[in-house]
């Protein structure tokens, strides 16, 4: 929020955040961690409520649980991405590190993923970075992706959809390297690393979609 006494310049940017989680404790926990420039503008307890809030408020960021009534985080991610594209970024905030739902969420356009045990200041930092275009991308997700693309390679196409370089990036992120460290290790710029990650997520989206279509065709749906 802009300081009223500061009339000399434009108000510092504020980023709006909607919190979607069916546990009030979790919501108040996240709210307590938010401080300018992150401003919580709404809280939702289920997917329907979340989607209504998102449509009405168009926040910069949605911090969204996976297990929620009325379709869960997955529905929030799908419908938000479909309606608002990249303007509203949904970050999945979950207790689980293993769920397939998580991959589906990321494939459906979730901007990033953080575990609920992420400490407050770290959460704040990661969300800010997400707004700046840098998806929070925990080692666990990179590990899941490694396995997922191997599975795709084994089953569908016979070749890994990822390039050699993308696999290297993914491998290093899974091992806990920051983008900066990945860049150093591979002698590329940090920005290039971010691009690789974006491409990896794009490919995940494509392979999941292709798989869904194939699955639907195999099962005679439409």
């Amino acid at each position: 929020m802009a300081d009223v006494t500061d009339l000399s310049g434009p108000a510092p940017p504020a980023y709006t955040v909607v919190i979607a989680d069916d546990h009030p404790t979790v919501r108040s926990g996240i709210r307590a961690d938010m401080s300018p420039p992150l401003v919580v503008v709404g809280e939702a307890g289920d997917a329907t409520e979340a989607l209504a809030l998102i449509d009405a408020l168009l926040p910069n960021l949605v911090v969204c649980d996976l297990n929620m009534p009325e379709g869960g985080g997955l529905r929030v991610v799908r419908e938000t991405t479909a309606r608002h594209g990249d303007t509203v970024k949904v970050v999945v905030f979950t207790v689980s590190e293993h769920e397939r739902d998580l991959l589906d969420a990321v494939a459906s356009g979730a901007y990033g993923y953080l575990t609920k045990s992420t400490p407050g200041p770290e959460l704040h930092r990661q969300l800010l970075r997400a707004i700046g275009g840098d998806p929070p991308f925990a080692p666990q997700l990179a590990t899941l992706l490694l396995g997922e693309f191997r599975r795709v390679a084994r089953q569908a196409t016979g070749s890994n959809p990822l390039s050699e370089r993308e696999r290297e990036v993914l491998n290093l992120v899974a091992r806990g390297y920051t983008y900066k460290q990945v860049g150093k290790e591979l002698f590329i710029a940090e920005k290039t690393v971010e691009n690789h990650v974006r491409n990896i997520l794009g490919k995940l989206h494509l392979t999941r979609r292709a798989e869904l279509i194939r699955w639907a065709a195999d099962h005679d749906i439409r």
């Binding site: 926990g29 992420t118 080692p139 590990t143 091992r175 900066k180």
Partner: protein, 407 residues
Amino acid sequence: MPRTRPSRTAGPAATGKAELDTMLHAPPRPVGHRGEVERGVLIGLAGLRWAAWVGLTVVALVNLHRDHHPALVILVIAATAAMTAADQLVLVGSGWRAALGPRLIGTEVAVAALVIGADGWVHQAQATGQTLAGIWPLPVILLAAVAGGVAWGAGVGAVLSAARFVAIFVAAGSAGPTGRDLLGAFTTGMSWVIFGAVCGTIIHLLRRAQDQVAEAEARDRIARDLHDGVLQTLAMIERRSDSVEIARLARDQERDLRAYLFGDRTGSGNLPAELRQAAARAERDWPATSVTVTVTDDVPPLRPVQVEAVVGAATEALTNAAKHGHAATVVVFADIDESSGGLFLTIKDDGEGFDPATIVEGVGMTRSIRGRVEDLGGRVEFASAGGDGTEVRIALPPLAKRRASRG
């Protein structure tokens, strides 16, 4: 499900038709709600019944020429075959519980009594020492025990031993049975009663175990339903707490709960579970350091010795990262080494790091890690990860090629 137990237990041979009647007219007993135990026993019993029938038939046919009433012996063979087949038909269908109903069991007992009686009347059991009945009564007694527990098992045993006595008296005619025959019948009769009682007891215990399993499953379901809330709360405490100690406590509890709910088995050479345990131990010992363990599904199979060595090495690396590197976060990552098919494991911290060029190989930590891994034909690398922090890289050759790639 509470099971009403018979208030009356059967006495030894002092029971007869009255006993059988009361048993047959007793209200249908509740059978275990899923009946897995019962059905399992019945299916196992089917084999035993055919074996008993084959034994009966062989004895009957071999001795047919000296039997008094060969036609009746053939009838016995047919009746027992029909009984066995009928029983099996009932068992195959969805109404298999009827096999435990009073009607079928009553028929069973009657047929068994007939077979035992035939030993005295039509078959020269005493002359050849081979009885038609043989093991035929045993499946019947077992069936009764499954249906009605100790009382039915022992009761049917007693009824059949009574039939045995009758048979002996019939066979002996006016001369009366010899003491030896009586003793033999008494021993057999007692063993049937005891067999019935023991079977009843075992079935009872099995049912109880089954109920306990069902109960445990129900508890598990409830736990899973609850877990979401509790895990979330613990994660929140972990995140929000200003006290390092409370945060650590919450994290410990979260890990324990997770391990319990998601069945992380330990101590069985399960690499992911053991790495997580090592991580939890490190976090307990070094509260300022948080450890993330992440493992792909493609980790190759390992022998317990290998798991032990690798987890030991990882523990050393974690200690080093926390104690000497003052790392805030450590990531332990395990995957398949795609080029060799072996294990690839890294322990990376964001600590103070070191210059790999100056590392002294005599230092306990590195020597210990190297020793554990190289003893198994693996390789260890210490690297400065991207300029800050340390990464320990461990590679183990795949199981089959372990010796070949050594050195």
